[in-house]
Point group: C2
Chain length 318, copies 2
């Protein structure tokens, strides 16, 4: 969470003038997003999120990401629409960086979700999968198990062991997961990063699914497995709340029942989800100085989740 | 600018429930304030800034700071009022840290102010000085020239020279400023940190004076000198815009004309202002690792300002 770039009030006002949204009356840099700078802008008409794409995001992917927001929003999903400028463009360049103006949605992200909230999130995820079926865009998942395993292999066993002595075991788990990865499951557009941070809620109502910058084409059941891994554990992964996980799946299946192949694949899909977050956290950990002000996230939080799914198998989803 | 502490949505909702402000519908950590964590909160009634006091601020000073906001707001100054909780308290404790809920004010901070804006800020500063005359609180200025000189002496000539070879000269300048510091000027409550960051404006109207956490009892003309040093130079201090400085003083004197003693003291008062920012920046520079993600501010920006005021004398304010 950061604001990487400083944009002055005058620059923001000039930028906003390219849109038919009224005049700027307030602008606050907000501490959201790890790859972007974000501002909460207010005009005399409405509020907006201004996102500046800083790193990790390829401008060539913006038509997919922003077009997806528009498609899902138009289909009635609680997803922020992109505001197009007076010339119809979904993003503009400012100082060689792409920026997009996005609809502001109310709601707060739960940190201790309850069952009703997990149910609502599962249902919103299924709604999103169904609404995306007629979206014309596609984007390859570049964080599939073979990709994330390669990241961990590049880190190397020694470096992983310096993070935690138990972490190098992920290399064997990763190889097993990648070589057994389920094929032929129903695919669609998936969010693939639906942590509580990326969901806005009011009580038990989902008011926003946000941060689609890992969205890609993939197995829809994998998206559910990612969400299960992200929602149904204590923060450090040591405590699984099966009632939350069950509510999530129940909510999902209220709109899109899983096939038996999908259900049986969940334990491995969830391990693949954990593998991915272990890889990105390990890479960030090794790239971030220990005394940096950014809080490093412990990859072991997801190693414990992976072990849970590996050891419990299908019963993790009972 | 940072959010040092994570407060979850549930914790924020519980906190907000202590105030008669409606129910929480949105919460964004905002990148403002160097000593505090800040959130922009929205309820179904209004918007607020929630400030958590992290460091540098002594809880014993909160009655002064927050009482001053209430006093100035009630007097019609564009200053955010403190929201008191249902028991009347201006601040509460959360996890051993004090938090206060503050009125949200519209406006953006100019980064390239024009003359009309400088005039308006000068006038708002004088209005604030006049409105504070019947405020009963008082607080010693702990960043007077002898204090800031002591900070620089503790840094030491060698360390200052490692920041910039021209910086150790500040020790002689500081001794001269401290020993010649004007006495007997009219005092009152001063903001003492009125950089453009701490002013919210809509066009040429001041909609907010914020961040009073350096406010103290002091010479009112010193506050004007601080504001002059903060507003009328290019960012690195190399270019003085005399028209901005003149407009600022003109605006101030439209409400509170300076005495001849105050006007004659301005060159030394402005050097004292520079001394203070040189000291705090040098200290932060030496305390901050070069590879930290926080941008260090160059003390030389204010060394150049100090030299300008020293060399130009009274003509700096012509």
């Amino acid at each position: 969470m950061a604001v990487y770039t400083h944009l002055g009030a005058e620059e923001l006002a000039r930028l906003v003038a390219n849109y038919d949204v009224g005049e700027l009356v307030s602008a606050k840099g907000i501490a959201e997003g790890v790859s972007n700078s974000n501002w909460l802008l207010e005009t005399n008409q409405a509020r907006f999120i201004l996102t500046m794409y800083e790193r990790r995001i390829d401008t060539d992917d913006l038509p997919f990401f922003l077009g997806l927001l528009d498609h899902l929003s138009a289909a009635g999903c609680p997803v922020p629409a992109t505001i197009h400028d007076r010339e119809g463009a979904a993003w503009r360049m400012v100082d060689d960086k792409a920026v997009a103006l996005i609809e502001f949605l109310p709601g707060v992200s739960p940190t201790q979700p309850d069952r009703a909230q997990a149910y609502a999130v599962g249902r919103a995820l299924a709604e999103m999968h169904l609404a995306a079926r007629d979206f014309s865009g596609a984007r390859k998942n570049d964080l599939a198990p073979e990709d994330t395993l390669a990241i961990l292999q590049t880190c190397g066993s020694d470096a992983l062991g310096r993070i935690d002595p138990a972490l190098p075991a992920i290399l064997d788990d990763g190889a097993r997961i990648a070589s057994n990865w389920p094929q032929g499951l129903p695919t669609g557009i998936i969010h693939s990063d639906l942590f509580p941070d990326n969901v806005l809620m009011l009580d038990s109502e989902v008011t926003g699914l946000i941060d689609f910058y890992f969205a890609c084409t993939g197995a829809m059941a994998y998206d559910l497995a990612v969400t299960h891994a992200a929602w149904s554990f204590g923060e450090d992964g040591s405590r699984n709340d099966t009632t939350l996980g069950s509510a999530l799946i129940l909510g999902y299946e209220s709109l899109r029942p899983l096939s038996s192949e999908e259900f049986e694949a969940l334990p491995l899909l969830a391990q693949g989800a954990c593998l991915r977050f272990i890889a990105s956290r390990a890479q960030d950990w090794l790239d971030t100085p220990a005394d940096a002000l950014v809080q490093r996230k412990d990859p072991m939080d997801f190693m414990r989740r992976l072990e849970f799914y590996r050891d419990r198998g299908q019963s993790a989803f009972a």
